[in-house]
Symmetry: C2
């Protein structure tokens, strides 16, 4: 029985992408060689890299003057690279503190300069997105997190900033249209809507780089990777290949506008049931609810075993809540069909009826 995979990440990928990836491990490009045993400088792989970059640009409407690169180290490495590349010596930055990952980003930036936290929802266990804050005009950049996987909150309207704007979009990139021109750096670990763990997508406005006066270590300088087309050293071949396949799948489906509607339908279906069913309760502020990660509690703990048995028997996987929120978390990334969400909703109804 195929599972209904609600994992928060690494997470569900399209079945046809998995099939193509599996085939490429044995015989890539009909060359009788595996994808993972050929030179990254061979034409077949250079074509993969080029296509991945092109698909990112096309799907997100990336304006001219921006570079698209694939790095390693996840968002955690970007927490360091962003201040290294944008913060002047003795410089300043503004951050919103909207979750565990935002907090780590702040801690890393603080080692390099003066960080002002302009919005902070840690007082209520990060269950909302701060709004109406002011960003000082003298900061080198403003940093926010678009979607908070652990707490199930999502920025619906990005602020207007007097400074550069940087966003960690790890857990909702490609799930909805955003106006890339509002941002100067966007980064995202692949392992939600893009591909397997092991590569990080960075979209950067070229003109903002090279202005800090810092001596940036080679591997941490975005310009190193931009100038070498993400091939300064051997790139993570397999994660980039599968990302390319996933982006092609998204394009074939109609692109981000189409998936955004599907994601909204899935969110409406599950949040609708959480709000209707007296046994359940959402944890995030309604106006900030994430369309990717739905966090909810079961109000009646005596029904916990029954609920767990029900979803387990239905082949549902990965909906245990993160330890810092408790309860349940249903992650519904792009590759999750609405049918899987319906299975979960049906079980919630069944629990109520029993």
């Amino acid at each position: 029985m195929k599972k209904h995979n609600f994992s928060a990440g690494p997470c569900i990928l399209p079945q046809e992408v998995l099939k193509q990836a599996s085939d490429a491990i044995l015989n890539f490009n009909n060359d009788n060689l595996s994808l993972i045993e050929i030179s990254h400088r061979s034409k077949p792989f250079v074509d993969v890299m080029d296509k991945a970059v092109e698909l990112v640009k096309e799907l997100l409407n990336v304006p001219k003057g921006y570079s698209v690169i694939f790095l390693q180290g996840g968002a955690s490495m970007e927490f360091l690279m962003v201040p290294l590349n944008l913060m002047k010596i003795n410089g300043k930055a503004a951050y919103t503190n909207t979750g565990a990952w935002a907090k780590k980003a702040i801690a890393e930036a603080k080692n390099l300069g003066d960080v002002t936290v302009v919005g902070d929802s840690s007082d209520t266990n990060y269950n909302y997105i701060p709004k109406g804050y002011e960003i000082p005009s003298d900061v080198d950049y403003f940093h926010c997190t678009s979607n908070n996987t652990i707490y199930g909150t999502q920025v619906k309207d990005f602020p207007n900033t007097p400074s550069l704007m940087v966003c960690d979009m790890s857990s909702d990139i490609f799930s909805r249209m955003v106006d890339i021109s509002k941002f100067d750096i966007i980064y995202a670990g692949a392992q939600k809507n893009m591909g397997p763990a092991g590569t990080t997508l960075v979209i950067v406005k070229d003109e903002v780089l090279g202005k800090t006066g810092r001596n940036i270590p080679t591997m941490l300088d975005y310009n190193t990777h931009i100038s070498k087309g993400s091939m300064f050293n051997t790139p993570p071949v397999f994660p980039i290949y599968v990302s390319m396949l996933t982006l092609q799948w998204l394009k074939d489906l109609g692109g981000v506008e189409v998936i955004e509607k599907v994601n909204q339908e899935k969110a409406n279906l599950l949040y609708g049931e959480i709000d209707r069913n007296p046994l359940f309760e959402g944890t995030a502020a309604k106006e900030d609810r994430s369309n990717m990660n739905v966090c909810f509690l079961l109000n009646d703990s005596s029904k916990e075993d029954a609920f767990n048995t029900l979803w387990n028997d239905a082949g549902i996987n990965g909906i245990k809540g993160h330890r810092s929120v408790g309860g349940y978390r249903a992650s519904m990334y792009n590759a999750m069909p609405i049918e899987s969400v319906q299975v979960l909703v049906d079980i919630m109804k069944k629990l109520e009826q029993n």
Copy 2:
């Protein structure tokens, strides 16, 4: 026709490993989920990580007091992490300059302290391994490269050092037994003898860390990754899994001692033909010849087309020499059967006879 894959890296992996990896992309651990769509904190993947670490320790006889971690960013990131973690503020280090990668390692360390190049073969296009050099006793560490992929040279005897010793073993780790206790940090990009591109193995003596007085950025501090068992953030799941499979394959084969003999036989076979056949000539000093990467020239350029046609028709792949050496380079990593080397040798003989 299955190819004879002499690529320098990413390179040949065992056929049975590729088969298992391909299967795991569709259905891992009989859970009806792909390896790349499950949580890295799920038991099946934690087991993979544990097993990979255990296999490294077993295959290399890693002594107690050393940690084994899997990072991202390749050897290029280690060029930065090594001085950050070992070099005191205003500290010193000694390096050998034995090739393009050693040179990059030196450049990165120079940004952090005083670097003495104690041995240098750049004067003759890196065709030998410097020997008999003295390592100053006041350096924080000595750094060398065990095998130079581009130039086909290999350190046969590691020096005795008055300081800590660090080695980039990217292109020959697991190909021969080394006495790990002589080293304080060993690092290696996976994509030669261990697995696909996208993870870096680091073996580090715990007691040498935390003594620099530096404030090391979180992701660049070896202790971050040691304390979290390589799961500080999402690890590169697939490259680590395939590395584990490859190490298991090596163990089943009899381990490093057994493969070392096979590698010696392959080297004897090919170098023997290069020395015997008047049409060919090796580029590296004989006593420093690499058992992994065999660089050679065709003396008679009028036979180039004939040779290229011969090896191409025989299904040989990836033997074009690196642009900085020219000629040919046959990389013969662990997974290459001696039969493939024989095919190449037969063609060299055939060219002579024609």
